[in-house]
Symmetry: C2
Subunit: 223 residues, 2 copies
DNA sequence: AATGATTTGTAACATTTGTTACAATTATTA
DNA sequence: TAATAATTGTAACAAATGTTACAAATCATT
């Protein structure tokens, strides 16, 4: 196994290769290999171990009750699988995990992983960071989904991106990405943007967006 | 300070009072007192310490850009404040925290808290459970919000509540609670339920709901 | 600069959902 | 049991969003 991939992982952030290797080699672990296309774990299965991709790429895909498959995300080498689902009481895979290419996983059983976390301060802190970041990302996302109207979501997004000082922002997401992030249709995003322009609340030029009436914009976050 | 509240906290689950007291007293901590109504921390402020309510009740409230206040949740004694926001890179309070009644908080600074977690296996495992549960709860919630239509959300909810075997469930939430959980209007829930009944997909009697056509219901989770 | 791909703006129309209001039903409490 | 409160069912109408389609603009690549 090629250890050098380890230090690319957030779990070993701030560590040098020797330190990471030493930590891993003093804990029981195994390497599992999967052929491209094979099912690594199934949605609903309990998560009993820490798993990290050390070679290849895996993907998470959701299967709904009607059997439709939606790809959720790709996880390349050094990425961890379902880190936020190892502990907790609903510790089951939320998605199917499938090997996209030939894949090797580093696997540490839950009980060993706990000891592993304790063995090194940086690893513990990093793991806490990883799963906390997950919560924080989800909280953020829910904040947007909770706004009833697209105007509300967009207003929130603009104000948040601008921060307290700036009145001009650069949109880093395309309308398509924004639409997906908000869970709405793309033309609806375009429509709302042009309404906000028509109302003199913002003006846009390409990727740049200037806030003209911050008060009205803030009002919209009520929606 | 009344230590007995400690063992009611999920952080000390599975521990006897002596063990919890011994763990806490061997770590630096302080008690902070707040009068009813006072602001404990402000949205956006960094979270630098673990905080647990040991007396009184606090509430989290969101303040949007227009200044409107929305109460998010009450946290009674033994509850932890923003546990999933102590670590991670966006470790800022997502809400204002206000003392509802006269309140005492047990406060452990982040660095000390890390040592504290390491000092006891159960505490570490419990804390990992707490923040993992948070992620799992949020994931679950996002799953529902991602369904575009109310029919889709409701179908998902019914199928998930029923599980693979049962064809009859008891609705534990009122329509109001369901509506809030889905982020939709209450009469819309009622309408969708009666549509599903009219289409012969479900039938309801009071709190009881029977699935008549599971195939059609599963189809709806495409929405 | 020319080409092709991606992104954006826009429109008409269908569908879904929200809003409001009120009656009917079901819990809860005195 | 009666009174009261909470929940549910329903309807009419308004508002928001989705869908589809296409043209214009922008970006990336040669």
């Amino acid at each position: 196994m090629d250890y050098s991939v380890l230090i690319k992982s957030p779990l070993f952030r701030g560590m040098i290769l020797e330190e990471a290797v030493s930590a891993v080699s003093s804990t029981p672990y195994r390497i599992r290999r999967f052929k491209a296309g094979s099912l690594i774990s199934q949605s609903g299965e309990p998560v009993n171990s820490f798993m990290m991709v050390i070679e290849g790429v895996v993907k998470g895909e959701m299967v709904d009750f009607s059997g439709r498959i939606i790809k959720i995300e790709d996880i390349p080498a050094s990425g961890a699988l379902a880190a936020a689902f190892i502990f907790g009481s609903r510790n089951r895979f939320p998605v199917n995990v499938v090997a996209v290419s030939d894949t090797q996983l580093l696997v540490i059983e839950k009980a060993d992983f706990l000891k592993f976390l304790k063995s090194n301060d940086k690893i513990l802190a990093n793991f806490l960071d990883i799963i906390s970041n997950r919560s924080q990302f989800l909280s953020e996302k829910i904040k947007f989904l909770n706004f009833k109207t697209i105007r509300g979501k967009l207003a929130q997004y603009i104000l948040q991106t601008a921060g307290p000082d700036k009145s001009e922002i650069r949109l880093t997401m395309t309308q398509n990405e924004l639409a997906e992030y908000f869970g709405v249709a793309r033309p609806s995003i375009a429509r709302v943007i042009s309404e906000l322009e028509k109302d003199g609340i913002i003006c846009t030029k390409g990727k740049y967006l200037r806030i003209l009436d911050i008060k009205k914009l803030a009002e919209l976050t009520k929606e």
